[in-house]
Symmetry: C2
Subunit: 143 residues, 2 copies
DNA sequence: CCCTAACATTAGAATTATTCTAATCTTATT
DNA sequence: AATAAGATTAGAATAATTCTAATGTTAGGG
């Protein structure tokens, strides 16, 4: 179902467009469509290729290069989190809260682990007292 | 300094060649040279490109494709451990003991953390009781 | 010992993932 | 509504990695 045509003066801006504006991004056609595919459902782990395929299936006119641009821009703005597990491709997580991951080696699938389920009782001091930006725990599952 | 010429009958096989044979690999020129560059010094974090450059500098005649082959073969045989931190390239660690890593985001450098320095007090159960093959902890340093 | 067949290894060519940059689109300002 | 400044897009280029045909190695028979 398509929304009623927007008049030239912006009067009925959608919530999605507003969210993009809030982080300083223009709500362009391509970004709106990709943001909708990304955030319309629950938390997901996607790759540039998988989002590109989702876009094609949804009939969205967008190039793969633009999908990469959008993923990196969204990550820089804190709307996505990049996870590096498999060097052959980048994964992006729509869950940006503190959490960890199970990685199923055979299928390549990722599963979120709530941060309260993992407790780091002892941690080494960071060299030169430099700030820790993030701690990633990946539990690799043989299956 | 070059070792004395080996006679046709293998009498004075080097220790390095013997180690390769032990894991079922032929001690070819290229592999011997790469193994020497990899394991000759202390623990290191290398990339295919960095090892290739080391080889060129050392005057070793080897292709980049062969460097990739050797790194993956050595990893499969347990002589190296692959670490995935940065999706733009694969790192290989000559330290195959249980340990974790600091990752310096600005320089891209890795530093080993002894496994006794990190204590995981609470861990979630693996789904379906599947076996855990490895737990990786990466502490990302903003510097 | 040497020769040969079977298999392992190598590296040039091909592929895949990602980035770059020139062209296009948006938007704030008038 | 027109314009200029800057953001966004996507075709082309690049970089990382893999594939596969050619080459090298080795064990066993002659």
């Amino acid at each position: 179902m398509s929304a009623a045509k927007t008049k030239k003066t912006v009067t009925n801006e959608t919530a999605l467009a507003e969210q993009l504006r809030e982080v300083g991004l223009r709500p362009t056609q391509q970004r709106m469509a990709l943001a909708d595919l990304l955030f319309g459902r629950g938390n997901r782990h996607i790759t540039a290729e998988s989002l590109y395929n989702d876009a094609l299936t949804a009939g969205v006119n967008v190039s793969l290069a633009t999908v990469y641009n959008a993923l990196h821009t969204f990550t820089a703005k804190g709307l996505l989190r990049e996870i590096t597990i498999d060097s052959t491709r980048s994964y992006f997580d729509t869950n940006v809260d503190e959490h960890h991951h199970f990685y199923f080696e055979k299928s390549g699938r990722l599963e979120d682990i709530d941060h309260t389920s993992v407790k780091l009782a002892r941690l080494p001091e960071a060299p030169d007292g430099l700030p820790v930006s993030r701690i990633d725990v990946v539990i690799r599952i043989d299956g």
